[in-house]
Every structure is written in C-alpha cells, then in structure tokens.
C-alpha cells in the first residue's frame, strides 16, 4: 500500500480552499499553512501560459527529512506517509532545513509540523480535507499500488510530473499537466 496524491493543474483555479480546509481540519496555528498554491506564468504577453498547483508535503519515498532526523521523530508510517512524533521531536530544525520543498514548519509548541495526508481521516475511509473540499475536484488521492484507485486511474490516463525529481527525493505528489 502506497498512498499518493495527484493534482490536476488544468483544473486548479487557485482558490486556496484546500489551504483553508487543511488549516481548519488540522488546527494549524494562525499564520502557518501546510499547503500553498503556486502560480507559474511563462512567456511574453500575449503568448502566456499559466500553471496553477496546489502544493504540500510530497511524502517522498526517499525523504531527506526522515534520513536526517537525529531521534527518529520524523518517520514513515504504513502506506508511505511521512509523519512527525511530537514527543520524540527535539525541535532542532534539521528536517526543516533538509526539505527542498520547504514543506515543514516549526510549530509554536516546539515540535516540527507538516501535512499528514490527513492520516486521521484516511484511516476512517475519508479523503484528506483538501481533496474533500476542492470545488473543481482536482485533487485525487488513494493507493498508488491499487490499479483501481482514482489516483492510479488518473495517472494512467494523463501526463504527469513531480517537482524537482532531480533532487532525488522520489516525491509522491503528482501534478497532471
């Protein structure tokens, strides 16, 4: 079982509902966010191309944040989800410095926090908050090892990319292009 997510960049409008839903669902402290929306504008007017992406922690297969953690607070749970155990975290910040996607942040309570793919929701058969709330339904989530899951189906149908694959992290957040 390997959880993964695919975001359809052709359907994302940059409304940031996902960002707010995540903050609400996970009690993210004010001023912090676990997700964000990136807009790419390419070309010279009037030949312009735009790509909009809803980004978050990529739950990498070769996560540098897990590798560099001195206590093992940063670990991988079943399904490949990268999590932080707050009572093992010493707040050294190494994982924050090691993430090329800047996906982590220091929680005001001291430990390090980030997107959890809403593990507490997916354990109960629900989708992550961002996927559940997206008005254009552009966020697909599921088991990449199950060829029938919505994320596997859409990745087979469409061309996709990941962010900075050359960083060697093997991210599991795909962008349909």
């Amino acid at each position: 079982m390997r959880y993964g997510m695919a975001v359809d960049t052709k359907k994302c409008v940059g409304c940031s509902d996902c960002v707010v839903a995540c903050q609400t669902e996970n009690n993210v402290p004010i001023g912090y966010c676990r997700e964000w929306v990136v807009e790419v504008m390419d070309g010279t007017y009037p030949q312009l191309e735009i790509e909009i992406r809803s980004e978050r922690c990529n739950h990498c297969d070769n996560a540098p944040c897990v590798r560099c953690c001195p206590t093992g607070a940063s670990h991988v749970e079943a399904g490949g989800i990268v999590m932080v155990k707050p009572n093992k975290c010493i707040g050294c910040g190494a994982c924050i410095a090691s993430c090329p996607y800047d996906a982590r942040y220091p929680h005001p309570d001291g430990y390090v926090d980030k997107c959890t793919f809403c593990l507490h929701r997916i354990k109960n058969g629900m989708k992550p908050a961002c996927a559940a709330v997206c008005p254009t339904k552009c966020i697909y989530f599921g088991d990449l090892d199950d060829p029938g899951s919505e994320v596997s189906v859409v990745l087979k149908k469409r061309k996709s990319k990941t962010l900075i694959p050359e960083a060697g992290t093997k991210p599991q957040l795909y962008f349909l292009i």
Binding site: S16, K88, Y111, L163
Partner: protein
C-alpha cells in the same frame, strides 16, 4: 520570461520568505566545537609522539580551555532547540544515517574525555592538588595507566568532532550551498587552524610557537585550496549550485566572505606568520586572533548563506 510565485500567501515563520531556522547558536557551537577539536587533536597527537615536554602548552595547558568550550557549545545547541523538554531523546536513539545523531554521541564521548585529560594535568595549575577521596585517586591512577589509550580516543574523536559538522551541513542537499563534500574537510581544517592559533597564544616556548606558526600556515594553505576548489566545484555543477556560488561571487555575502573570512581570517595572518618566521618582530597574538576571527566568521557566513540557497522559487 518565467515567473513562479506562491499566490495563496504562505509566510511560515522562519521558513518564508527565506529559510532562517538556524540562528547564531548554531554557528557559535560550530566554532566552539571546531576549536575544541583542534586543541584536543594537537594535545593527543603530541602526547602520543612523546613530545609533552617540548610542547607543554599544546599537550597540557590549552586543553584546559576545552571543557569550557564544549559546555558552552552544548549550551548554545540546547538554547537553539525548540522542544527543549525532549532533548534527552537525542541520547535515547542512535540514527546512523543522521550526522546530527553522530554528533550527539561524539560529544557524549569527547566531553568527559576532555574533562579527564584536564584532570590528569591539574597539577600544572595546582601543584599540590590532592584528590582526597580514595576512589578519585583510583580513577586518576587508572587513566594515568591508560593515558596513551585515552590520547588515541581523544585523537580520533577530535577528528570526528572537527569534521562531522561539515558533513552534517553537506548532507542537506536541499541547501545547494552546503551540498559539497568539501565542507567537512574545510571545517576540520578551520578547526585545527583555530586550535593551533589558540596554542600559539597560550604558549610561552619560542620553539613551540614556531612549530604551531608553521602548522597554522600549512592549515591556512589547505583551507585556501579547499575554498578555491569548493567554488570551482559549484561553478562546474548544476544550476542550483551555480546560483549558490553566486551568493559569494557578487551576491549579498560577497564582501563579508572574501574580506572577513579569506583576507582578514586567512591571508593576512598567513602573511604575518611568514614575516614572523623570517624573524620580523610580529606579536604572535595578532595573527592568532585573526585566525580565530576568520574561523568564527566562516561558520556564521556559511550557516546563514546556506539557508539562503534553495532549489525552488
């Protein structure tokens, strides 16, 4: 033209607009640890070579700085932690893939070892020192018997202490400026150089000062070689590393790096030490202090600039 920006307004403290998760505590520890490593390395080296009478400052006196340097360094690291109540987890886990874990355990060995080394030489400062309790006298007897083994432990762990901080930074491939295997040897050379400089300041023997001036000169040469090759490596590497190198070649850290670290911290003391070796009268303390200054600045600039280097946006 290509513009890639975050439009949902991410401004995570200490991460945006630019990563700044490590502040003064970290480069301060890197300097104190490197300096302690340098002093302990020379102390152990010259003891093993049987030169403790010719080089007393190196083997017996300078090490008395190291317990203070290491404790202050550990305090700085502790202050930096954001989840302090759980600091003990560092010592309840060993993670072989995490250089920070190696560092925690290395300090766990070398800090008591440095205390023991000082305890064995306490009579340099208090000639009539008496341990009073029999068990303490037994401990002193034990370590005196195995002093050479202790010196080997100090030697090896001093090298690890001096090099692991550079390896730790270089393991962060997310920060292209740090992601070079030259950083470990550079930090080790800088730590050894700072150690040699401290011995130069403390020493009262002209022969010892001459030796350590020569050692420092060689180490400065090695550091300059490593710095040049580090930049050659960046400029011959991928775009992110070329951009990282630009921080020092026209970017915001250019002046501070080349002036404070290279000119004031390496070239100027090297020139002064050459003049000293050619028997011009130069007070030994001047180049030594410049070397220490350069060592501090190297660490501050590399830690701060590294956080400015990135892959995305």
């Amino acid at each position: 033209m290509r513009e890639e920006i975050i439009v949902s307004g991410r401004m995570n403290p200490m991460v945006d607009p630019q990563l700044h998760i490590w502040h003064w505590q970290i480069p301060l520890y890197l300097f104190l640890g490197g300096l302690a490593a340098g002093i302990l390395f020379f102390a152990a080296l010259y003891y093993i070579n049987g030169k403790e009478r010719e080089y007393p400052a190196a083997v017996k006196l300078a090490p008395f700085l190291t317990p203070f340097l290491l404790i202050l360094g550990l305090l700085a690291l502790f202050i930096d932690l954001r989840h302090k109540a759980f600091f003990w987890q560092l010592y309840a886990n060993i993670r072989l893939q995490s250089p920070m874990s190696w560092g925690a355990w290395t300090l766990m060995v070398i800090t008591p070892a440095s205390f023991i080394w000082c305890a064995l030489h306490i009579r340099e400062f208090f000639p009539k020192w008496d341990w009073k309790y029999d068990w303490l006298k037994a401990v002193e007897g034990f370590f005196n018997k195995y002093k050479k083994a202790l010196a080997w432990v100090l030697l090896i762990y001093a090298v690890i202490l001096g090099i692991y901080t550079g390896i730790l930074l270089s393991a962060f491939n997310a920060r292209p400026l740090w992601n070079t295997s030259i950083l470990g040897p550079l930090f080790l050379a800088s730590g050894l150089s700072a150690g040699a400089a401290s011995i130069l300041i403390i020493s009262r023997s002209p022969a010892e000062r001459k030796l350590f001036a020569k050692i420092d000169l060689i180490l400065i040469g090695i550091e300059l070689f490593l710095i040049i090759h580090m930049f050659m490596g960046f400029l011959a590497s991928t775009q992110v590393q070329i951009d990282a190198a630009r921080l020092f070649l026209g970017g915001p850290y250019t002046m501070s790096f080349w002036i404070f670290v290279v000119i004031i911290g390496m070239i100027l003391p090297a020139v002064l030490e050459i003049m000293e070796l050619k028997n011009y009268h130069v007070p030994a303390i001047v180049p030594a202090l410049l070397v220490l200054f350069g060592s501090v600045m190297l660490r501050f600039i590399i830690v701060y600039a590294g956080q400015a280097s990135r892959w995305l946006y």
